[in-house]
C-alpha cells in the first residue's frame, strides 16, 4: 500500500473499470439480446398456437384441413408456411410448402427423408405423457428453432382428445419488439464520472487514503452501472412483453371475421404459452400487459444478473488491488526474472491444467447446480442451486436410526458413518502399508544380506499383477464356506466366520486385501529414498554412540522424510479414494457399512444419476483431503526447501 502512487492507482482504476464495466456491459447486452429474442420467439409461438387452435377445431369438425392451412398462412401477418403432420397415420395431413404441394394431394404418406417430422411429433407426444405422468413440467412441449436469420419454426403438438397424434409446424417471419435501448449506453456517463473523480485522487496523500479512494470510486461506478443496467433490462422486458401482447391482438384481429373461424376460439391468452404449453398470463384478453406479473417473473433473472454483477465487481476489485498495489508489475518482473524456473515447470503445468485442473474446476462448478440425468440438456444457469447440495450432504446427521419398534441401529448409509469409516480405512491402510513397506525396504537395504534380488522381485508382485483378479482372489479366500481362510481356521479347530456379515470382519477382509496390495509401492519408494542417505551419516551416528533405534530415529527417518512424506500424503489420498477394493471385495457389505465416500459418490452419479450431487460429494471429499494435506504439510514442513 505504501507505494500506491497516483500512476498505479489510476492504472488500477482503469483496469478495474474496463473489466467491471466492460464485462458487465457484455453481459447486459447479451441479456437484452436474449430478452429480445425470447419476445420474438414468443411472437412466433403465439402465431403457431393460434394456427394450431384453429386447425385442431377444423380437423375435429371434419373440415378441409389443407384449405384452412392455406387460408391461415395467408391470413396471419407473420405466418409464412404451415405444415400439419398426422403421426398416428404417418401422414403429411396438410402443407403450404411448395415442395409438399408438388408431391401431390394431401394427405401424403411420409417419406423416409421426412422421418424427422414424424419423430418430432412422437417426441412431443412422449414429452406430454412424461409431464403428465410426473405431474411436472420437465420436457418441452413446444419446439422452436431458427430456420433462417429472420425465420423461426415452431412445432406444436396436435391433440386428439388427450392424446398427441400429430404436430403443427409453423414457419414465421420474426416479429421483433421495438428497440428498447434508447439514449446513451449506461456505461458512458458512469465512466465519465469515474474519470472525473480521478482528478481528485491527486489531492489525496499517497498510501492508504489514495488506495481506498480508488476503491470507493471503483465500487460506486460499478454499482451505478449495475443499477442503470438492471433498469434497462426491466424496460427491455416490458417492451418485449408489450410486443407479444400487441402481436397476439394482431393475430386475433386477422382471424376475426373470417367465416370459417369461430370467434370464441380467439382468446389471445390461450396462445400465450411457455415451452411446456403452460399459460404465461403476462397480459389479458384485451392485450393489457400485467406489469407486476412480468416484473415478478423477472425477479429470478434480475437476481441472477445481480449475482453476476457482484461476481464481476469482486473481480474488478481484485484487479484493482492487483494493479494499484504494484503487484501486477512485480508479477511481470518475476516472470521475466525467473524465466528459466518457469520454463522447467511449464511443460508439466500445461498438462496438469488441461487434464487435471480443468476437469477439477468443471466438477466444482457442477456442484453448485442441480444437474441430473433428467435435465442434462438444460442450460446450466437454469439449474443453479448454490450451496444446497453441500447443505444436504452435511445435514445428513442421522447416524443412529430408530426402527418402528423402538430398536436403534446405526444408519450405515449416513454420511458421517461413511466418513468415519473412510477415515478408519485410510488410517489403518496407510499405517499398514507404510510400516510394512518401510520395514521391508530397511531389511532389503541391509548390507551383505543374501538373496536380496530374489526377495525384492517377489515382494513387488502384488503391485505387478493386475489387482482386479487378485482382489477377487482375496474375496474368494474370505468366502464363508469355501474360502481358504475359514479352512485354515477350521484346521486350527476354530469355527468358520461369515466375514461379510459384520462391519468389523468385513473391514478386516478389505484391510487385508488392500494392505497386501499397497505395501510394495511403499517398499519401492523407501528403497529408492534410502539411497539418498550417505553411509557416513550412519558412521557418524555410530561414533556418536547412537544405537540402532536411535540411528533409525535420527538418521534414517529424517533422511527418508523428503520422499516419504509426499508418498504418505498421496497414499492417504489414494486410499481415501480407493474405489476398486471396496467395490470388488466387500461391496459395501454389510448394508453399506463398509462403503467409503468415493463408492458413495460413484453410486450417486451412476446409480442415482445425480451428477451435481455427486460432484458436491467429490468436492467434500476434496476439501477433507485438502484440510488433511495442509495440516500434514504444516506438521512435516514437506514443502519447505532445504
Amino acid at each position: 500500500m505504501r507505494d500506491a502512487s497516483v500512476g498505479r492507482t489510476v492504472a488500477g482504476l482503469i483496469t478495474a473499470l474496463v473489466i467491471g464495466i466492460g464485462l458487465m456491459s457484455l453481459i447486459l447486452g447479451e441479456a437484452r439480446r436474449t430478452m429480445t429474442r425470447s419476445a420474438t420467439e414468443q411472437n412466433a409461438v403465439v402465431t403457431a398456437a393460434a394456427a394450431a387452435d384453429v386447425l385442431a377445431r377444423v380437423r375435429d369438425d371434419g373440415g378441409d384441413l389443407q384449405a384452412m392451412t392455406v387460408a391461415l398462412a395467408a391470413a396471419l401477418p407473420d405466418l409464412e408456411q404451415l405444415r400439419v403432420i398426422d403421426a398416428s397415420r404417418r401422414q403429411l395431413a396438410a402443407s403450404t410448402h411448395a415442395a409438399d404441394l408438388e408431391a401431390g394431394d394431401f394427405p401424403q404418406r411420409l417419406k423416409r427423408e421426412q422421418k424427422g417430422w414424424f419423430d418430432q411429433a412422437k417426441e412431443l407426444e412422449a414429452a406430454h405423457s412424461t409431464n403428465v405422468m410426473e405431474g411436472k413440467a420437465r420436457k418441452d412441449e413446444v419446439l422452436l428453432r431458427a430456420v433462417a436469420a429472420d425465420r423461426l419454426e415452431v412445432v406444436l403438438p396436435l391433440f386428439d382428445e388427450d392424446q398427441v397424434t400429430g404436430s403443427v409446424q409453423a414457419v414465421t417471419v420474426a416479429v421483433l419488439p421495438a428497440d428498447a435501448s434508447g439514449g446513451l449506453p449506461g456505461w458512458i456517463p458512469v465512466l465519465a464520472a469515474a474519470l472525473l473523480l480521478l482528478g481528485l485522487l491527486r489531492l489525496l496523500p499517497g498510501g492508504w487514503p489514495r488506495f481506498a479512494a480508488g476503491l470507493v470510486v471503483t465500487a460506486v461506478a460499478l454499482y451505478l452501472h449495475a443499477s442503470l443496467g438492471a433498469d434497462t433490462l426491466t424496460n427491455t422486458r416490458l417492451v418485449g412483453e408489450q410486443s407479444v401482447a400487441d402481436h397476439a391482438l394482431d393475430v386475433s384481429s386477422a382471424l376475426r371475421g373470417r367465416p370459417d373461424v369461430d370467434a370464441d376460439d380467439l382468446a389471445v391468452t390461450r396462445w400465450n404459452i411457455d415451452r411446456f404449453r403452460v399459460g404465461r398470463a403476462t397480459f389479458d384478453d384485451a392485450g393489457l400487459v400485467a406489469v407486476g406479473r412480468v416484473e415478478d417473473g423477472f425477479d429470478r433473472d434480475r437476481g441472477r444478473f445481480r449475482q453476476g454483477a457482484f461476481v464481476l465487481s469482486l473481480l474488478a476489485v481484485v484487479f484493482y488491488y492487483w494493479v494499484a498495489t504494484g503487484w501486477a508489475r512485480r508479477t511481470g518482473t518475476a516472470l521475466v526474472k525467473h524465466r528459466s524456473a518457469y520454463g522447467f515447470v511449464v511443460p508439466a503445468m500445461i498438462g496438469m491444467i488441461l487434464l487435471v485442473f480443468f476437469p477439477f474446476f468443471y466438477g466444482v462448478l457442477l456442484s453448485f447446480f442441480n444437474k441430473t440425468l433428467y435435465n442434462v440438456n438444460q442450460p446450466l444457469y437454469d439449474l443453479w442451486v448454490g450451496f444446497d447440495n453441500y447443505v444436504s450432504i452435511i445435514a445428513d446427521t442421522g447416524v443412529v436410526r430408530t426402527a418402528e419398534d423402538g430398536s436403534r441401529s446405526i444408519n450405515f448409509q449416513n454420511f458421517y458413518w461413511t466418513l468415519g469409516f473412510t477415515i478408519l480405512w485410510t488410517v489403518s491402510n496407510v499405517f499398514i502399508g507404510t510400516t510394512l513397506g518401510l520395514t521391508l525396504a530397511l531389511i532389503l537395504n541391509v548390507k551383505e544380506l543374501r538373496f536380496k534380488p530374489f526377495y525384492r522381485i517377489i515382494l513387488i508382485l502384488p503391485w505387478a499383477v493386475p489387482n482386479y483378479i487378485t482382489a477377487l482372489i482375496w474375496k474368494g479366500m474370505f468366502h464363508k464356506q469355501f474360502g481358504v481362510i475359514n479352512q485354515v481356521i477350521q484346521i486350527g479347530g476354530g469355527e468358520p466366520i461369515s466375514w461379510f456379515d459384520a462391519w468389523y470382519t468385513s473391514f478386516f477382509a478389505v484391510l487385508m486385501t488392500n494392505g497386501w496390495l499397497s505395501f510394495p509401492f511403499m517398499m519401492v519408494i523407501a528403497l529408492g529414498a534410502l539411497q539418498s542417505i550417505p553411509n557416513d551419516l550412519y558412521e557418524a551416528a555410530r561414533v556418536d554412540g547412537a544405537g540402532r533405534v536411535q540411528a533409525f530415529r535420527f538418521v534414517t527417518l529424517p533422511s527418508l522424510k523428503p520422499a516419504l512424506v509426499p508418498a504418505v500424503i498421496l497414499s492417504v489420498v489414494w486410499t481415501f479414494n480407493m474405489f476398486n477394493i471396496i467395490y470388488l471385495v466387500s461391496q459395501g457389505e454389510p448394508a453399506g457399512a463398509t462403503e467409503i465416500l468415493i463408492t458413495d459418490a460413484y453410486k450417486i452419479a451412476f446409480e442415482q444419476y445425480r451428477y451435481s450431487y455427486a460432484a458436491a460429494y467429490s468436492v467434500v471429499i476434496f476439501l477433507i483431503l485438502m484440510v488433511y494435506g495442509i495440516w500434514q504439510n504444516k506438521v512435516t514442513k514437506a514443502t519447505e526447501g532445504i
Partner: protein, 405 residues
C-alpha cells in the same frame, strides 16, 4: 531416384489409391460387447451383410468390454463420436433417452409386418414413453438347469422342487439340492413376479415393500433358512463350481451359465416351477433383452436401420442362435428346424412365455443398491423381509424424488 524405389513408390500409391476408388460406399460402425463364440458368430453375420452390400454399405464392428461399455457410449455417442449402431441390453435405454442425443427413435420405420415377427415382450423392452428405440436381437432369461444324474425329471412345482432339493443336500459336505444367486435381486425377481410383486407401479412409483414382495422373500428365506437346501453367500463363481463338481443338483441361471458347465456334468433345462405358495403361479424371471439401436447422431440412419433389420431378422438370428448360442427374439428364427430342434434354445424360448422384461427406465438403476442391501440383510437375518423392504422403499423413494426434482 533409382528405379526400384520409383516402382515401389508407384506400387504403394496404387495400393493406397485403388481401394479408395472402389470405396464409394457408406461405412457403418457397430459397437457390441461380444466375445468368444458370440463375437465370432456376430462377425460372420456382419460379413454376410457386407457381402450382400458390397456396392453400398460396409459395416465395421468394434468389440468393447462390457464393464465400461455403457460409459463409453455415454461419453462418445452424444458427442457424435460414437457408432451408427450399437447393441446393448434394454436396462440403460431409458437413461440414454433422457440424456438425449443418444437414441434414435425408429417407430417411423416400423410396420406390423416387422413388429409382428418379434416376441411381444422383447419388443416392449425396446420401448420407452411410447417410442421404440431399437429392435430386439435376443433375450436372456433365467431358467432351471439340473444335473440329470441327480434329478431324473424336473420338478414342476415349488413343493416338488424343495422335495428334490432336500434329497441332494448335505450341508457339511458342501452339497446342495438347489443353488442360485437368491440373494441377488435380479435372480429373486422370478419369485417376486410369481407372487405378482414388482418394483414399480403405474407412473413409475416404487412399490418395493408391497405385500407380494414380502411374501416372495419369506418363501425364499424358507428355502434357505428352514429347508436349508441352498448354500450361503451364493456368488456366481460358487454356483458354477458347485454345479461343476456335482455338488448342486438344480441351478437357476441363464444362458451364460451353460458354457461354464464342465463337460463331465450331464444336464438339462426346464421351465422354472410354479409356486404353490403363490397360488400356483409360475416363477417369472426378469428378462434382459439385447437390442440393436441406431445412434442419434448417425449420418446414415436409413442404412443403419436396414442393418438393424437384417441383424434382428431370421437369417442373422439363426446364425447368432446356433453359433453364438443366443436366444433370438425374432419368432421367425424358431421356424427353422435346426433352431426349433435345439433343446437349449427351445427351453429358453419356453421360459420367455413366463418372463417379464426388466424395467428399462432410469429409475430402475436406483433400485439395485437398496434392494441388494435389503436382500443381504434379510439373508443375514439382520432384519425381517418387511422391515428390510420398508427401508429399501424409503431409500428408493428418496432417490426417485431427488432425480425428478
Amino acid at each position: 531416384m533409382t528405379k526400384p524405389v520409383f516402382w515401389l513408390a508407384t506400387l504403394a500409391v496404387a495400393v493406397v489409391l485403388v481401394p479408395t476408388v472402389a470405396m464409394a460406399e457408406i461405412e457403418l460402425v457397430v459397437w457390441h460387447a461380444y466375445r468368444g463364440k458370440e463375437k465370432a458368430a456376430f462377425e460372420s453375420v456382419v460379413e454376410v451383410f457386407n457381402q450382400d452390400h458390397v456396392d453400398d454399405v460396409r459395416v465395421k464392428t468394434l468389440a468393447v468390454p462390457y464393464d465400461a461399455y455403457a460409459d463409453k457410449i455415454t461419453a462418445a455417442v452424444p458427442r457424435g463420436k460414437g457408432p451408427d449402431v450399437f447393441i446393448f441390453a434394454q436396462d440403460r435405454l431409458g437413461g440414454w433417452v433422457e440424456a438425449g442425443r443418444t437414441m434414435e427413435p425408429i417407430d417411423f420405420y416400423l410396420y406390423e409386418e416387422i413388429t409382428d415377427d418379434f416376441i411381444p415382450s422383447t419388443l416392449e423392452a425396446m420401448q420407452y414413453q411410447g417410442n421404440t428405440y431399437g429392435l430386439p436381437m435376443n433375450f436372456k432369461v433365467v431358467t432351471m438347469i439340473y444335473n440329470t444324474d441327480m434329478v431324473a425329471s424336473p420338478p414342476q412345482t415349488s413343493t416338488e422342487l424343495i422335495e428334490v432339493a432336500k434329497l441332494h443336500t448335505n450341508e457339511a459336505g458342501g452339497k446342495f439340492g438347489l443353488a442360485y444367486s437368491y440373494s441377488d435381486f435380479y435372480y429373486h425377481s422370478a419369485l417376486m413376479n410369481a407372487f405378482g410383486g414388482g418394483v414399480f407401479q403405474g407412473s413409475r412409483d416404487p412399490v418395493l415393500n408391497s405385500f407380494e414382495n414380502v411374501q416372495s422373500l419369506e418363501l425364499m428365506m424358507q428355502w434357505f433358512d428352514v429347508d436349508k437346501v441352498m448354500p450361503a453367500e451364493p456368488s456366481s463363481s460358487l454356483i458354477t463350481m458347485l454345479f461343476n463338481q456335482g455338488d448342486a443338483a438344480i441351478v437357476f441361471s441363464g444362458p451364460w451359465f451353460l458354457s461354464e458347465i464342465s463337460e463331465s456334468i450331464p444336464y438339462a433345462l426346464a421351465t422354472l416351477p410354479t409356486v404353490d405358495e403363490a397360488g400356483g403361479a409360475p416363477m417369472q424371471p426378469w428378462m434382459t433383452v439385447e437390442g440393436a439401436y441406431i445412434a442419434a447422431p448417425s449420418q446414415n440412419k436409413d442404412h443403419a436401420f436396414d442393418f438393424v433389420l437384417y441383424l434382428t431378422g431370421p437369417a442373422a438370428g439363426k446364425t447368432m442362435a446356433l453359433e453364438g448360442r443366443q436366444t433370438p427374439a425374432n419368432l421367425r428364427v424358431y421356424d427353422d428346424p435346426e433352431v426349433a430342434g435345439d433343446v437349449q434354445l427351445s427351453a429358453f424360448r419356453a421360459q420367455v412365455e413366463h418372463a417379464v422384461p426388466m424395467p428399462n427406465f432410469a429409475e430402475m438403476t436406483m433400485v439395485w443398491s437398496p434392494a441388494t442391501t435389503a436382500m443381504n440383510s434379510i439373508v443375514r437375518k439382520a432384519s425381517s423381509p418387511q422391515a428390510a423392504l420398508d427401508q429399501a422403499q424409503k431409500d428408493v423413494e428418496e432417490r426417485v424424488k431427488s432425480l425428478r426434482k
